[in-house]
């Protein structure tokens, strides 16, 4: 129903699970709705727990489907939302360029990912609300340097004006695609189906069996 932009939802070769994290109120949900439905909702409410959306796009001639989990920003929901980091191959850490505190939290979010997500998850730092340049509190260069030091992709975007929104998702997906292609090559070179040491399995589907068996543990 709400998914009418995704006409080819079954027609994809790769399925990547992405998480969207960052402080409350930085605009995660609107980034997602802008990317998946080209919508911006001025009256959006706080996200409770986790919400979900997808979009399929083409990368290097392959149809890649991004399955994106948008998480609640508030600390209290961390226990619930961090369960969704499992199996994610990409993460967007979003902050608000007009609010220093949300940028200062980025390292905390990075730590979250280190604790709960796969080790080789591709991470992008996104400074949202770039339309509020007159209220800017976080200099672009400072954020870019931080991203470089921590091996993160970086963009500034605006869900409101839709500036750079597609670009930031594209950039992330492309990097995931390259990382996985390389990873697969590596694995194939090893002549084994099993992932090499330290290289976790990349989950390409919701893997129902695995989840069902864990139903009674870990709040899922």
């Amino acid at each position: 129903m709400a998914d009418n932009t995704d006409d080819y939802s079954y027609d994809y070769e790769y399925l990547y699970k992405i998480v969207l994290i960052g402080d409350s109120g930085v605009g995660k949900s609107n980034l997602l709705s802008r990317f998946t439905r080209d919508e911006f909702n001025l009256e959006s409410r706080s996200t409770i727990g986790v919400e979900f959306a997808t979009r399929t796009l083409e990368i290097d001639g392959k149809r890649v489907k991004a399955q994106i989990w948008d998480t609640a920003g508030q600390e209290r929901y961390r226990a619930i939302t961090s369960a969704y980091y499992r199996g994610a191959v990409g993460a967007l850490i979003v902050y608000d360029i007009a609010k220093t505190e949300t940028y200062e939290s980025v390292s905390r979010w990075l730590k979250e990912l280190k604790e709960h997500a796969d080790a080789n998850i591709v991470i992008e730092l996104v400074g949202n609300k770039s339309d509020l340049d007159h209220l800017r509190a976080v200099p672009t260069e400072e954020a870019r340097n931080f991203a470089n030091e921590n091996n993160l992709l970086f963009t500034e975007a605006s869900a409101l004006s839709s500036d750079n929104v597609d670009l930031s998702f594209h950039q992330l997906l492309k990097n995931i695609y390259e990382m996985i292609s390389k990873h697969q090559l590596d694995t194939n070179d090893g002549g084994s189906n099993k992932p090499t040491t330290g290289g976790p399995t990349i989950s390409l589907t919701p893997a129902p069996q695995e989840k069902r068996s864990k139903n009674n543990s870990n709040c899922c």
Binding site: M1, A2, S24, L42, E43, R45, A72, K211, C220
Partner: protein, 507 residues
């Protein structure tokens, strides 16, 4: 991911404010019929514009009582009207559920509540011509707290008499509606139902809670809802003699609690505040944005105050996103009771009552908001187990698609379905929740969620993982009416009776 639900905005965006709430949102109330029902006077209300600060609580509180009583003659209306207001005489024809008297009130100055007026000293005054309503037999109400509508009206002669109801005045409303016997029957039913409520609420010195619950389970008349909710929640004692003093004490306590805090609640600036207050601020701003009421600075400040106070007094959970939603039904239902004399003093009463009732509600679901939210995790598990009893096929399909209950029902528990249903339907739902013992916000709610999920069972069985999640994130309830809710509640009730005592099933 915006919630695209329309939130009954049409109900509230009537800017000329003729109706305070909409047809569905607690049965629309024409302002004038409001005044009539309450036979209000605003005796002391003209005295002053209280500042937002509460340094004069004592004065404020001493004014809470008595001043809102029902004196039938003394009305002052010497304030806030520049120039002589047009004198007009209005004949009120009763189209309300409950009252059946015709009243002639000559309104000397009716100051309509103006939503754009930031000064909350606005007062609605009616200079009533006492003699013209001698038929009222108006006595001072035994209850002098402002919660009660005037219950001193004789409750007996209330079956609708068609002939005497024939509108004679051009200003009377909708003659058409009275032309069908269906309508008369309907009104008679409503009227007799209201009388039953009224009898329970005022005939004995102790309100019979059992009877009240039984009656309220099937819905509460809108003008008695605030009172009934407060009794059902245990905020208002059943002993009527103690109600006024309890209210007074609780409202006082609330103000004292606020006074102890150092937060500047008028501050809406983005930062410079504790992270708790910051979170509350950004969430209050995006609470029910499509409903006009929640856009006013006064409303937002009230919500900030009461949410903040609740959070600091409940450090184990603190403020959790979604609790902002939970206070809104109280806020708007109680507001309905006071709207005729909205001013700062009343606003603090409204806040206090909302605060205490929210506290009562949350007492039932404290585990939902503490660390790791174990209450919600349990409820989600209970829901799954329940579905395995009721609709195994659906469960199998969800499992097969890899859909976890947590993925879609977490929010159902966290916000009590307030994100899935319009607030007017939630209000009706809460009539029933409040009539359940124990209150229905915890266990009964799980049965309701089961009924809610199963409503879409056939749709869901056709869908895959992604379609299911997208569907349930935004379920098609926009066209739902109270009848749909009542059906859902009945189903929940049946399942509860079937499975509640089979305790093993939910473990």
């Amino acid at each position: 991911m915006g919630k695209k639900k329309q939130e009954m905005s049409q109900v509230y965006n009537n800017s000329n404010n003729e109706f305070i709430f909409g047809e569905n949102g607690g049965k629309g109330k024409h302002l004038s019929s409001f005044l009539k029902n309450l036979s209000l006077t605003g005796t002391s209300s003209t005295s002053s514009v209280h500042s937002a600060n509460t340094d004069n609580i004592h004065e404020i509180n001493s004014n809470i009582y008595g001043t809102l009583g029902y004196s039938s003659s003394k009305v002052s209306s010497n304030q806030s009207n520049s120039g002589p207001p047009p004198k007009r005489s209005v004949s009120y024809k009763d189209l309300d559920d409950d009252w059946d008297a015709d009243i002639d009130v000559s309104t000397d100055s009716v100051v309509r509540r103006s939503p754009d007026n930031r000064n909350l000293s606005r007062v609605t005054k009616v200079e009533s011509n006492t003699s013209s309503r001698s038929s009222f037999n108006l006595q001072p109400s035994p209850m002098l707290d402002s919660l009660y509508p005037d219950l001193t009206l004789p409750a007996t002669n209330s079956s609708v008499n068609l002939n005497s109801q024939k509108p004679t005045n051009e200003e009377s409303l909708d003659v058409e509606d009275y032309r069908t016997t269906m309508e008369i029957n309907r009104l008679n039913q409503i009227s007799s139902r209201n009388n039953k409520f009224r009898n329970i609420l005022i005939s004995d010195s102790i309100v019979n809670l059992q009877d009240l619950r039984k009656l309220a389970w099937n819905g509460i008349p809108s003008e008695l809802r605030a009172l009934t909710w407060q009794i059902l929640l245990g905020y208002l004692p059943t002993n009527r003699a103690r109600q006024a003093s309890t209210l007074k004490r609780k409202r006082q306590e609330y103000l004292e609690g606020l006074n102890a805090s150092t937060i500047d609640f008028e501050d809406t600036a983005p930062s410079n505040s504790s992270s708790l207050y910051h979170q509350i601020k950004i969430d209050v701003r995006r609470t029910n944005q499509s409903i006009k009421l929640y856009g006013y600075p006064e409303t937002q400040q009230s919500l900030r105050k009461l949410l903040y106070l609740w959070a600091v007094r409940h450090p184990a959970s603190g403020y959790v996103q979604g609790i902002n939603d939970l206070c809104t039904p109280f806020f708007q239902i109680f507001l309905l009771n006071y709207i005729w004399q909205l001013q700062q003093r009343v606003l603090s009463i409204l806040e206090a009552d909302t605060y205490w009732c929210l506290s009562r509600l949350l007492e039932n679901i404290t585990d939902n908001y503490i660390h790791e939210q174990p209450g919600i995790i349990r409820q989600v598990g209970d829901l799954r187990n329940l579905i395995s009893k009721i609709d195994l096929e659906l469960l199998n399909h969800l499992d097969h698609e890899g859909v976890e209950f947590l993925q879609f029902s977490f929010r159902w528990m966290n916000c009590l379905l307030m994100r899935e249903l319009s607030i007017s339907l939630i209000v009706r739902m809460w009539d029933t929740y409040l009539s359940e013992t124990p209150l229905g916000f915890n266990n009964f709610h799980v049965y309701v969620c089961a009924a809610f999920l199963i409503k879409f069972s056939n749709d869901l069985k056709e869908k895959d993982f992604q379609e299911i999640l997208l569907f349930l994130q935004n379920p098609p309830t926009g066209h739902w009416k109270e009848k749909d809710i009542e059906l859902m509640l009945s189903e929940a009730f049946i399942w509860q009776s079937l499975y509640k005592n089979a305790s093993a099933h939910l473990r």
